[in-house]
């Protein structure tokens, strides 16, 4: 991920509300707490020395409870709120140093925004609302109308052009908000609690649609939310905020598996792990036998490991089938090769299958389920006990993610012969 271009780069950004900002900044640099600074200067810390990068075409989620400064932070990115200190680079240009005209141009061409309460203009039709960003740029009427209609089509609002915002439901109004942002065709999309005002079912639909749109548009999205489930669903990376400071940045997995401190831990403890953990997290090392070895080797191996069947793989570690102990014994007696006694009725899942979906398969399988990558390479096996243990919240059953994932995968396959 790191080799992707940095789209937004935030460096030491702080926002202090109140009069005595100089003193407060100084105290902040000395590492004083938010409450201590409030006591001494009367100034409130909105954002406390935030540092992060957002890479091209990722969904970067900023999450925190209300009052944690996430909405303030996202507003500093397009300077709806002026940061007190720090630098923000958009495509390498420092937006905090821009003149009014440059800033306006950046807002028009680079960054658009979707708001929690939709913020549509009640006196304009849906089409006129969608056109707004283009209209103020002085775009010709026909061109902007076509672009707005295209954007409305993208969000599934064809035919509503001439309605007024108050004639639409909340979900539809937010689609207009999204269409208005998309019509401008900016690289960066800021979404401030965009789905928080919607009811849960609509919210989930909107999340799915956003992911759908994102897969074809590849925008750089900064998404603000207070909802951890939402963050986990849509975020490529998540930044967790508390008291204006970012306490942890990482992929959803990293945040769940390795909470950096107690705050994050408490935040994530109620998460439904079965929707987050995947086969990769619970799979065990797969014992295998090369398919060109004799049945005697397979039998010997099973005896040694105390198992009744073993996966047979080729040189590229692609699964060829499963060898049962009974079949191997017969083969030894009758002189057959492993190829001839392979059982191909095994089941496979991919690494990123989530635990909830695994459970059905694992509970009915009589032999361990194979975990394969997209090329059919065997990466590990699922043992029923480990899956159930992980579902029950037993951390010992979950693979350690502090190591680089590629090494764990390799270690999980131990070649005996």
């Amino acid at each position: 991920m790191d080799e992707r271009a940095k789209k937004i780069s935030v460096s030491q950004v702080s926002k202090i509300f109140g009069k005595n900002t100089k003193k407060a900044t100084q105290l902040l640099n000395e590492g004083q707490s938010k409450n201590e600074i409030l006591k001494q200067t009367g100034a409130t810390i909105g954002v406390n020395q935030a540092n992060f990068d957002v890479y091209d075409s990722e969904i970067f989620v900023i999450m925190g409870l209300s009052g944690s400064g996430k909405s303030t932070l996202v507003r500093t990115l397009n300077r709806l709120i002026e940061p007190t200190t720090g630098d923000i680079f958009i495509d390498g240009k420092n937006i905090t140093k821009m003149s009014k005209d440059e800033l306006r141009e950046t807002r028009r061409k680079k960054i658009s925004m979707v708001f929690q309460k939709f913020a549509l203009l009640p006196h304009r039709t849906i089409l006129e609302n969608t056109e707004y960003g283009l209209e103020i740029q002085g775009m010709a009427k026909d061109t902007r109308k076509q672009k707005a209609l295209d954007a409305l089509k993208l969000v599934g609002l064809e035919g509503y052009e001439n309605q007024y915002p108050d004639q639409l439901s909340g979900g539809m109004q937010q689609r207009v908000g999204l269409a208005r942002a998309l019509a401008n065709d900016t690289d960066i999309l800021l979404m401030d609690e965009a789905f928080s005002a919607l009811d849960p079912l609509i919210r989930k639909d909107m999340q799915d649609e956003l992911l759908d749109l994102q897969s074809s548009m590849a925008k750089t999205i900064v998404f603000i939310t207070h909802d951890l489930d939402e963050a986990l669903r849509i975020g490529d990376r998540i930044a967790l905020m508390k008291d204006g400071a970012i306490v942890q940045i990482g992929t959803p997995e990293e945040i769940l598996m390795n909470p950096s401190n107690q705050y994050v831990e408490r935040f994530v403890e109620d998460v439904d792990l079965s929707k987050v953990l995947t086969a990769q997290h619970v799979m065990k090392r797969a014992e295998t036998v090369q398919v060109d070895k004799g049945p005697r080797v397979a039998l010997q191996l099973m005896k040694k490991l105390g198992i009744s069947s073993i996966y047979a793989v080729d040189k590229k570690k692609n699964i060829r089938g499963i060898v049962h102990a009974t079949a191997a014994k017969e083969a030894v007696d009758s002189g057959k090769t492993i190829e001839e006694i392979l059982d191909t009725s095994y089941q496979t899942v991919t690494e990123d299958t989530v635990l909830t979906d695994l459970f059905d398969i694992v509970s009915t399988a009589s032999i361990p389920v194979a975990v394969v990558n997209e090329n059919g390479r065997l990466n590990g096996i699922l043992v029923r006990g480990a899956v159930i243990a992980a579902l029950a919240g037993n951390n010992d059953a979950i693979n350690d993610f502090e190591h680089d994932t590629s090494t764990t995968q390799d270690q999980s396959i131990k070649e005996v012969y």
């Binding site: 709806l80 807002r107 028009r108 960054i111 658009s112 309460k117 103020i136 401008n184 800021l190």
Partner: protein, 279 residues
Amino acid sequence: MEESFIPKIPVASWIDAFVDWLTVTFAIVFDGITIALEAIVNGMNTVLMVIPALILIIILALLAWKLASKGIALFTLIGLLLIQNLGYWEGMLQTLSLVLTSVIITVIIGLPIGVWASQKRTVQQIVTPILDFMQTMPAFVYLIPAIFFFSIGVVPGVVASVIFAVPPTIRLTILGIQQVPTDIIEATEAFGSTVKQRLLKVQLPLATPTIMAGINQSIMLSLSMVVIASMVGAPGLGADVYRAVTQIQIGTGFEAGLAIVVMAIILDRLTQNIGKKKN
């Protein structure tokens, strides 16, 4: 009686001196304003007088029907016919000319000041106490300098009406613009609007109902000034009321007063509904 420690501050003589100085120094300006205002009021009056009463009544009733409702159209029709029947038609037109002129000037002055004050906190902080002063100072007090500056007749009446009537337009323009939800303002900012675009495309359209309520209040206030304005020689229904009061003619006073009430109701309902229709 207690003796004051500090001798009386000569506020009255200061104001007298100031008004004298203004009268002399800005004589040309005041003369110009007088001529212009007189021309506007008289011009409007002449136009209204040229139209036959019956036709004007029908036009106004139709306007009421279109802007408001059938009921108000009917009220307009009957009310105006009554005024004409009682013989106050000419007086009503004079009053209407005075009120309309005052309101036009009120809007020309009030709207830009309101918009300006809504954008700049310091301007609002200066304007607000001045408005408080203008509204609480008894209206009669404006008449005295108005006579000095503009002599007697319809012009000091218009000026006094404007001073008295302009505060609600300014106040409600400020309120209407500041009431536009912050997230909508944020959205217009986030898409890169200029100040002018924000004002014309977002703030003013959304503030229109509130601004119209302010203008409606200004109309009512300037109508309430007509009797006071007649004391400095402004013609119209106010003069009829004033004459009736000084000659203790109860019946005539009531008739002229009734004509003012009918006018007030018609103007109020019409302008109220202009604001609502736009919403």
